[in-house]
C-alpha cells in the first residue's frame, strides 16, 4: 500500500516561504545573470547571513520561475572556468519583481503592525 505524493500544482497559492524565496531570487538576478550557487551566495551575503537558504531548495524554485517565464537560463562558463547554468531576469520577471516587492512590503508592514503592539505588551 502506498500513498500518492501530493502533486505540486503551479496554480496552487504559494506558501509564504516559497513566495519569499522566489522574490529573493528575482531580486538577486536584477544585477545581472548568475548561476544557482551564485544566487545562493548572494542571498546569504546580502541578508548578512540572516537568511540561510538550503541550496537544494533553490533549484526547484529556479525551475519553477523558469517555467513561468520570469527567468531564462542557459549554460555558460563561470569565472572559475566551470560549466554552470546561468539565469537572467526576463522582462516578465522584472514586472513580477515589482509586483512581488510591493506585495511583500505591504504584507510585512501589515504583519509588523499586527505583531508590534503584542510584542510590546509582553
Amino acid at each position: 500500500m502506498s500513498t500518492q505524493p501530493r502533486k505540486l500544482d503551479a496554480k496552487e497559492p504559494l506558501d509564504l516561504l516559497q513566495g519569499t524565496l522566489d522574490l529573493l531570487i528575482l531580486r538577486t538576478l536584477i544585477f545581472g545573470s548568475q548561476h544557482g550557487q551564485g544566487v545562493a551566495r548572494a542571498i546569504q551575503q546580502t541578508s548578512e547571513q540572516e537568511l540561510l537558504v538550503e541550496h537544494g531548495a533553490l533549484y526547484p524554485a529556479l525551475q519553477r520561475l523558469e517555467e513561468r517565464g520570469w527567468i531564462s537560463a542557459k549554460w555558460g562558463t563561470s569565472t572559475s572556468n566551470r560549466k554552470a547554468r546561468f539565469y537572467s531576469l526576463t522582462p516578465a520577471g522584472r514586472k513580477q519583481l515589482v509586483t512581488e516587492t510591493t506585495k511583500w512590503q505591504r504584507l510585512s508592514a501589515a504583519i509588523a503592525r499586527v505583531l508590534g503592539p503584542q510584542t510590546t505588551d509582553q
Partner: protein
Amino acid sequence: MFRRKRKSSDFRAEIEAHIELERDRLIQQGRSPEDAQAAARRAFGNVLQTEERFYESGRWQWWDNLRQDVRFGIRMLVRNPGFTVTVILTLALSIGANTAIFSLVNALLLKSLPYSHPERLAAIYGKTTGTDAYNMRRSIDGEQWELLRDGVPSLLSAVSAGITSGVNLQSGSHAQYLHAARVSAHYFDVLALHPLLGRNFSEDEDRPHGPKTVVLSYATWRTAFNANPQIIGQAALLKGEPYTIIGVLPEHATTPLNADIYIALQPSREGEGGGTNFEAIMRLRDSATWQQADAQINSAWSRSQYALRHTGDHLTYYLVPLQKGQTDSLQAPMLAVMLAAGFILLIACANLAGLTLVRMLRRTTEIATRVSLGASPWQVQRQLWIENLILAVLGGLVGIGAGALALRALLLLLPQNFLPVADVSLDVRVLTFTLALALLTSFFFGMLPALITRKIDLRSAIASRGIVGGGAVRLRQFLIAGEVALTVVLLAAAGLLIRTLVHLETLSPGFNSNGVLAAKASLDDVRYHDPAAFRKLLSQSVAAMRQIPGVQNAGVGLTLPYERALIDGATLSEGKQAGQEVSTDTIYVTPGYFETLQIPVLAGRSFTDADGPDATKVVIVNRAFARLYFNTEDPVGRYLTDDAKRARLIVGVVENTVGSSAGGLTDDHAPLTSDQTIYVPAAQVASGEFLTVIHAWFQPSWIVRTESSMESVGAAMQNAMAGVDPNLPFSGFYSMNDLMAETLAIQRLEVALLVTMASLALLLSAVGIFALVANIVLQKKREIGIRMALGSTIGQAMVQVARSGVIASLLGVAIGLLLAAIALPAIRSALFGVGVYDIPTITVIVATLLLVTLLAATLPTLKIATIDPATTLREE
C-alpha cells in the same frame, strides 16, 4: 505540452556544477578538498529529494501517476483472481453477445449499400388506408413499369423479375446450372455499376422479342469462360439458345439479386407483365427531390389499370431508401435481438456493480488508511476508476474475441445466401461500438461503489475491521431483483419463440418427409417450350429413376412442400359459388408424386399414366380447397375450370401439405401454411406459352423415395437424367428436411439468438444471487457464530442467510412477469401456434428461476457448516 522542457540529466548536471562551485569557494577559503566537498554537500541538503521535486514539477507527472495507479490496480486485481476472473468473464460474455449482434445490425441496417451515392437509391412502397391498412414494398406490373419509366422524370428506374431462377449454360459438352436474374435496361445504371468489359443492356435489347443478350458476373466469367478477355460479342449457349455476351461485371460488384448471370428482362404488359411480377429499384436524379418523385409516381400510376382495379384501397405510393427496402423483413427481429443484447449488458452491469461494491466495502480499511496517510479523495477515486477501466478494457478485449467466435457460429447457423449482404465482419464501427460499450459498462458498474465510498467515515471504518454496509445489502438486493426481472422477460420471449418453432417444425407436414431426395433442373430452355418435349422428358426421366436400385418411387412436381407455389386462377363451375374465380396454389405433378412423398389420398384416386394429353382433363384438390369451396360435399366427380378455360374433372382429394408463405402478401403470415392447392397432371399442361412463363420462375423438382444413402442415389439420379438429356444438369441434391430448415431459417435464428441470450441472462442472475449470499455469509460470520453458540442450528442459520437472495429473486420474478406482460405483445407477430400469455411457458420459466435461485442461494450457505462458534467467539 506533454513534453518535458528540460531533461532530468540536465538538472542533475546543474546540481553537480553547483556543488563543485561551492567546493571551489570553500577550498579558496582554505579548507581541505575533502572537507570542502562534504560541506558543499551538506549545504545543499538532500540531492535526491531535490531531484525528486524537480521531477514532480514536470508535466509528465500525470503519466507517472497513471502508470503507478495502473501498476497498483493490476496488482490488486491479480491478488483477487476470483473477483477479476468473474468480472472479466461477465464483461466478455455480455460484450461479446453485443458485439456479435451489433455486427449483424451493422452489416444489415447501418452499412451503406456498396454503390455510389447509396442514399439516392430507393424502392417503391405502397400504403393503404382503411380497415385493412398495410404498408409494404410493392411489386409492379408491366403497365406500371411503362408509366414509371416514361412518366417519372425525377427518377432513373429499372425493374427485375422478382425472383432469380435457374438456367442451363452449355459450354462444349459440359452443361451447368446457374442462377440467373432478369433485369431491365438501366438496372446496372441505377446501381452505378460499370462493366469491367463491354457494356450494360441497351433499351433496344430490353424490348420484347429484342436480341438475346447476357451480362456475366465476374465469378462466372472466370469459372465458365476462363476469364477470356475477348469474350464480348461471343455467344453463350443459354437455355438452349445462343445469347450474345455484351458485358462482364467488375469483381466484387454485387446486385440485390446476386446472380451468376443477368439476362435482359424485356418487360411488357403481356405474360408475366400482366401481373405485379416486377420489382423496381430507382435512383433519384441529381436535380430532383423525393417529394417530386413521389408525386410523379402517384400521378403516373393513377391512370393505370391496376389503380382502377384497386380504387377502394386508397393506395398511395412512396419511395423508401433501398437499404430499408432490402432489409425490411429483418429489421424488427434484428432490433428485438439487439434489445435482448442490451438487457444482457444491463444485467451484467448490475452484477458487476454488486461485485465491485462488495469489493469496495472490503477495501474500506485500505482506503481509510490511504486517506489518513494523506491521499486526497481525488486520488482514491482515481485509483478505483483506473481499476474499473483496466477491467473494462480487458473485458472488452476478451469480449471482442468472444463476439467474433459467436458471430462465426451464428453465420454457420444461417443457410447460404440468406443474408442480403456479402459479408458480416467486425469492422471499425463494430470495434468502436464495443470499446464504447466497455467504457460505458465500466462507468455504470463503477459509479455505484464510487458514490458509496464518498461517504466512508474514516474512524468507524477502521474501528469496524473493514466490513461496513448493511444498507449495501438492500441495494444489492434491488440490483438482483432488477436483473432477475430482465431475465424473466428474456426467458419468456425465448420460451415463446421455442414454442413457435416447435409448433412449426411439428406441424403435420401432410407427407412423409423422411427418405425423400430432391433435385431441381431448369426447364427454362427452348428445347422444353413444346409441351410434347416436356412430357417426354418427364416420363422418360421418371421411368429411368424408378430403375435405380433402392429407389421405391419417383416423380416430378413444379414445386414441393415447404416451397412457395405458383398462384394461379381457377373458376368454380358448380355449386352455389359457380362462376367465381378464385386464386389457388397450382402445382403440376407427374404420376408418382403423391406416392413418392406419401401424401395420403383422402378420396377418389391419384394420377396415373392414363391421365395423358388426350384423355379427360382431370385435377386433384387438397383438403383445404375441398373444405373451402365444397364444404361437406364430396368434390370428386365435380368440375372446375382452369386458367386456360378448360373444364377439369376432380378425381381426387389429397391431404394438405405445408407450404411456404414467403409469397404471401402481408408479414403476419405464418412461415408455413396449408393453402388451398390444386394439382394437375404435368402431361395435361397443353400450353407452351404457359410452360415458358412458369419455367422462367420455377424450376421443377425431381423426387425419389429411397432407403439407400443420399449420395449414391444422387449420382444415380444425375445418370438417369443424362440418359434422357445429357445437357440437363441438376442444381444439387437435398432432402425434404433440408428444405424445411431453410424455410424456417429466420425462426431458427431467432430461437438460437434468444435462447443464447436468455441462458446468458439466467447464468448472470445466478452468479449475482450466489455472490450476494456468499458475501453475506462472509460478512455475518461472527453473527452466525454467536447465534450458533446460543443454540441456533446450522439449518436455521443457512435459511436466515439464503433468504436475502431468495427474496430479491422473488421480487425480480414478480416484476419480470409484470414487465413481460407489458412488453411481450410486441413480439406477437413472430409467434405462431402459441399465445403471448402462455401458461405452460410462464410456469416453466418461474419454476426454472425458482430452482436456479434456490441453488444459487443455497450453495454459498454450505460454508456455514464450517463455521466454528468457538473460534468466532474467541475472535470477539
